[in-house]
């Protein structure tokens, strides 16, 4: 959600700059507008690079921990990035929707985090660079009680724990 808001803000800046450009064409003394590309400020190898250009979230089916094909695509990009930046380490969080009891969901989130870890290891990532942590249903990203939110909350979330360039 935070990510969406940031992108939206960047887009606004670009639009404002374009309008300025349109106006400026009629005025000789106006300075040429400087339009910054949204991703140019992101340093390769940084946490932002990982989050924006690789993707930090994969989704799961209800009460399942198998890695879906859409998740495989994201995790392949994560593995490639980890290969490029060998100092980086990840904390792999497992999360659940609210349609399960607290303790069972802690275990299910644990399985999801492990499933992500095992998939990354199968792609050649050193297991020592990957930690796991389950949050069960305690840290949702979406708080509506509907299918759309529940899907967003059934997720594996990869966080740079160490070794990212700043």
């Amino acid at each position: 959600m935070l990510r969406g808001a940031t992108t939206f803000k960047l887009a606004l800046v670009v639009v404002a700059a374009s309008l300025l450009a349109a106006c400026s064409s009629t005025k000789e003394e106006a300075p040429a507008p400087v339009v910054t590309a949204p991703t140019s400020s992101i340093k390769p190898g940084s946490a932002d690079d990982f989050r924006v250009n690789v993707g930090d979230t994969v989704f799961f089916d209800t009460d399942a921990h198998s890695i879906r094909s859409d998740a495989q695509t994201v995790l392949q990009k994560q593995a490639a990035w980890l290969k490029q930046y060998p100092a980086a380490k990840l904390m792999l969080e497992g999360h659940c929707d609210e349609r399960g009891t607290r303790e069972y969901n802690l275990a299910l989130g644990d399985r999801r985090a492990y499933a992500v870890k095992e998939f990354l290891v199968s792609l050649g990532v050193d297991a020592a660079r990957l930690q796991t942590k389950s949050y069960g249903k305690e840290r949702p990203v979406c708080s509506e009680s509907d299918d759309s939110c529940w899907q967003q909350n059934r997720r594996g979330f990869s966080v740079i724990a160490a070794g990212a360039g700043s």
Partner: protein, 448 residues
């Protein structure tokens, strides 16, 4: 809510003496009795008089104590305390025999009288009597004394004595509830370990809310709580000492430990440990800290709860494809499923302190329910049902269950959790008073 001080948990000394009126010492027959197994269709009308005090200060304490008694008995759903304004007889002499006809006139079946005296040494002495109006006899006459600051507990002890005399079972009013206070938006929830009296009085926080804490449970034998906390990188099971305020992890484990409960002797904790991508049930002695593994299955094995005699453990496993209830012997042998096939998903089993029932959460269709079944899986009864009811805990007498109810989040509203109580008969569903949103209640044993 005040923050914990160790003094708060200093054990209070209570003295107890029996009061007898010679003429009424041995009731041959009591008309006023409650059969708990059938539940009560109509709560018993009971008159709880303002307790007497010799001076203004004593009078104030006396009437506050009567208020505690009234509140406890009313919330039990078994009693209907009558409005003191309807009383015909104004009791002014604790020693006198009441005018039974006056109390029959307002339909009272029971009458509670009392008096409180603050002694020069700071002790508070309370005498009370329970009268059977139709049997025209005294049923209970007791004197309690303790330090004055413990006046609420005297009220609970009196309510317990009345409950016990009329139902034949131990009361549960002189108890506490540990729970998780929740605040803030759902996506950034703050969790604090909390404790309060059973009636919501004296709430205090045990942790500051810097990290997630879940699933607190009382020790059956000491002033301690076991719970799960995120204060270390690896979420772990801790024990919190209520007398010192100290907390300690139960051992060094390579993976997450969670879902803890004390064993009935209070010497060990049974819990789940995630090791090499497999969640199993372990039990660890709190002194040697040596863990013993009880389950080996590749499925999720969690939420273990010992039978009160220590012989068996009920737990939750998805080894058959979906979460179901299983029972095993205390050493892990003889694991067998008890929840019925094709009925739904069963989680969070808790063995009743009486040993006769197991309470659980059942998820079927779009609802979550709290139910009970016998330890062999027979006799399932659903007690409550909503969008989300989960995590039952038993009163120490096995008659009342507390649980967490969460409302659905819609349009940014709702989604909060509160604690509810339900009688074992499925009657008297009530919201429990907590200082804010709350979850994961666990009932203390009877205070001693």
């Amino acid at each position: 809510m005040k923050t914990i001080g160790s003094k708060f948990f200093a054990r209070a000394a209570f003295a107890l003496a029996s009061l007898a009126l010679a003429a009424f010492a041995t009731p041959a027959f009591a008309a006023l009795e409650i059969k708990l197994d059938q539940g009560v269709a109509q709560p018993i009308p009971i008159a709880i008089t303002e307790f007497l005090g010799a001076n203004a200060r004593d009078q104030q304490t006396a009437s506050q104590i009567a208020g505690v008694v009234r509140g406890d008995l009313e919330r039990s759903g078994l009693f209907q305390p009558l409005d003191p304004r309807s009383f015909i007889e104004k009791v002014t002499n604790f020693g006198a025999i009441p005018r039974f006809a006056d109390w029959r006139g307002i339909r009272a079946q029971g009458l509670v009288t009392g008096q409180a005296t603050l002694l020069p040494d700071g002790q508070l002495k309370v005498d009370f009597r329970l009268w059977d109006i139709f049997g025209e006899q005294q049923m209970v006459g007791l004197t309690f004394s303790t330090t004055a600051e413990n006046w609420r507990r005297l009220g609970h002890l009196i309510a317990d004595a009345i409950y016990e005399r009329l139902t034949g079972e131990k009361g549960y009013f002189d108890t506490r509830i540990v729970f998780v206070s929740e605040s803030g938006p759902k996506i950034k929830r703050r969790y604090r370990l909390s404790i309060m009296d059973q009636d919501g009085a004296n709430p205090s926080f045990l942790t500051g809310g810097e990290f997630i804490v879940l699933s607190p449970r009382f020790s059956p034998t000491t002033q301690a709580i076991t719970y799960m906390s995120y204060e270390r990188t690896t979420p772990s099971v801790f024990v919190f000492d209520l007398q010192t305020g100290q907390r300690e992890v139960i051992g060094q484990y390579a993976g997450m430990t969670f879902a803890p409960r004390f064993t009935p002797d209070g010497n060990r904790v049974v819990f789940s440990y995630s090791r090499d991508n497999n969640v199993d049930v372990y039990v660890a002695d709190l002194r040697s800290r040596r863990p013993v593994r009880l389950t080996q299955d590749p499925g999720i094995d969690t939420s273990p709860s010992f039978a009160p005699d220590g012989s068996r453990v009920v737990f939750n496993s998805d080894r058959g494809g979906s979460p179901q209830l299983y029972v095993m012997n205390a050493d892990g042998s003889g694991q067998m499923r008890i929840s019925p096939p094709g009925q739904g998903r069963y989680t969070t089993p808790v063995w009743s302190p009486r040993g006769d029932l197991i309470a659980f959460t059942k998820q079927a269709g779009q609802t979550f329910a709290i139910g009970v079944m016998r330890p062999d899986g027979s006799g399932e009864r659903i007690l409550t049902q909503s969008f989300s009811d989960e995590g039952p805990t038993w009163s120490p007498n096995g008659r009342v269950i507390l649980f967490t109810r969460t409302t659905p989040g819609r349009g940014g509203v709702g989604g909060g959790s509160t604690i509810w109580s339900i009688d074992l008969t499925g009657k008297n569903e009530r919201k429990v008073i907590t200082p804010g949103e709350a979850s994961d209640p666990a009932w203390s044993p009877l205070n001693r």
